[in-house]
Amino acid sequence: MLDTQDDGYMTADGRKIGGVAMEMKNITLRFGGVVAIKDISFDIRWGEIRAIIGPNGAGKSSMLNVISGFYHPQEGDVFYKGFKRPRMRPYQVAQQGIARTFQNIALFEGMSVLDNIMTGRLNHMNAGFLKQALWWGPAAREEEENRAKVEKVIDFLEIQHIRKTPVARLPYGLKKRVELARALAAEPEILLLDEPMAGMNVEEKEDMCRFVLDVNDEFGTTIVLIEHDMGVVMDLSDRVVVMDYGKKIGDGTPDEVRNNQEVINAYLGVAHD
């Protein structure tokens, strides 16, 4: 096991991981009679790349939805920055500095790329109604300041050329990138990525990996990621949670998880005799 004292740990490549940012305690989530998540606990530390893996239907996306406040677990609690999080609407969770991308791209199709990314800045913009209506002083200034921040994200993800294109016209790979840009524009403390590489070709995957690592490296953003591509997961992440049928069957560094018998059984199947 890793030595996870409260002051963090060192990764293999020599990055310093901080204390506990968020902790899931005994989360159970049910839809009617179906148990999607069964008594799962794990923690997320500042600055780490934390992966959640598991076969289809294991409950990974539901877990992410619990973190972002979209589903409310029947049992268990979420602790954020050391405090128990009360039942919150998703937008309140977002305002606490948690941004995410979606498995099936959830961009605003009727808006341009620029406007989509600007929506990421909504929680940083608070000019009053009348000032906006009159486009007066603070409202206009705020718009420009945030536009400048958004342009930095656009540069970072190399999507300058599609800035004013309506999102609906973009190919899949670029849409995924725009979605990441929208999440990054929020300057989140924790970034949740739901299968960021699904459906991409090798080249696009490599680009996306580079972006994820760069985000973690340059902004120190904590990243929680769901991914099916084992190669990607093992390369990127510092620690991995493995889920199967709503239960946690493994938790640890990629190497530990790789050698965990239960994980091997879940992925490769097990002989019944």
Binding site: F31, S61, N65, F70, F102, Q103, N104, A106
Partner: protein
């Protein structure tokens, strides 16, 4: 028994018959919604159009007579013969099927995969078009519709209730027939959807478009089929209402009340449409009966919508609908 209660019961009974009317229109909505996910606003106008066409055929009116006269300066109005009802009804059914086919051809085909709200607005457009077309084809004046159903006070009901309560309820014989016809119609529809090949295909499409397509069901055929059935249901509704209060534009406003009915009953449930229709029909009559002294009459104008609104706030999926779990 106190008089007020008796009067209230009579009002409720009359509400029941209005409710059947709402239920019939709502039934047409449900059929189309189930098969294509389209909320067909024009269902009420379809009833009006069907009734207009039926009267037109019966009286031997020349379609577009006013238009032809205006353009050519002629003075034609009637062919000069009357079509017997038994012939006029199948002819009207044929027109409604033609209409269904045209709607699929010209409108639906091009709107596949659009958002529901766009489809809804398209059916509002369709409703306007059909209303204008109906007026243009057959003229806009109020018409009498007679298909041979006896009308007037039902003596049997009067005698029966007089025997029970010492007060005879007024009930139109026509309403009794409407009840019977509605029951037959629903039975036929249920039998059709359970025991025929087309019915099974219909249910498959209602369940999952993609899956139905992949096993070789023609979506377009199913759409024409459902719109045809909805057209026939509209014709029945049109006959009932037309025989009662004449064929006129207000029919399509009455049909608007099918919307709250659907909210009560759920958009995909045939029993829901019937029960919802009856609840609204009885509810508005009773509400008006008891509230008239306090807030004034004509509350039927809005009661159904307000009831639906209140209902929506507590049970958005309707009486028989299932709760939807949202996903991202």
């Amino acid at each position: 028994m106190p008089d007020t209660l008796l009067f209230a019961m009579e009002a409720a009974l009359n509400g029941l018959t209005a409710g059947i009317m709402y239920a019939l229109v709502a039934l047409g909505f449900v059929l189309i919604f189930k098969a294509s996910g389209i909320f067909n606003f024009s269902q009420g106008v379809m009833a009006l159009f069907a009734a207009l066409t039926l009267v037109g055929f019966q009286n031997g009116q020349i379609p577009f007579a006013h238009l032809i006269n205006a353009v050519l300066g002629t003075r034609i109005h009637y062919f000069g013969w009357n079509m017997p009802t038994l012939l006029a009804i199948p002819a009207t059914v044929a027109v409604m099927i033609l209409f269904a086919w045209l709607v699929e051809r010209i409108v639906l085909k091009h709107l596949v995969n659009q958002e529901p709200i766009i489809l809804f607005m398209a059916t509002i457009g369709l409703a306007y078009f059909l209303e204008g077309l109906g007026d243009l084809m057959w003229g806009a004046e109020v018409k009498r519709l007679d298909v041979g159903i006896p009308q007037g006070m039902s003596g049997a009901v009067d005698d029966l209730t007089f025997g029970w309560f010492g007060y005879g309820f007024y009930l139109d014989t026509l309403d009794l027939y409407a009840l019977g016809i509605a029951a037959v119609l629903v039975t036929v529809l249920v039998l059709f959807s359970q025991f025929t090949k087309e019915g099974r295909a219909l249910r498959a499409v209602a369940d999952d478009h993609q899956a139905a397509l992949s096993v070789g069901i023609s979506l377009r055929f199913i759409w024409v089929l459902t719109w045809s059935i909805a057209g026939i249901v509209a014709l029945v509704a049109g006959i009932m209402w037309g025989a009662k209060s004449g064929v006129q534009f207000s029919l399509s406003l009455i049909a608007l009340k099918a919307l709250p009915v659907l909210i009560l009953g759920g958009f995909t449930s045939i029993p829901g449409a019937i029960v919802g229709g009856l609840i609204i029909g009885v509810g508005e009559k009773l509400f008006d009966f008891f509230m008239q002294p306090f807030i004034g009459g004509a509350t039927e104008n809005w009661f159904a919508y307000m009831l639906a609104l209140a209902f929506l706030l507590f049970r958005p999926q309707g009486l028989f609908g299932e709760k939807i779990i949202e996903r991202v």
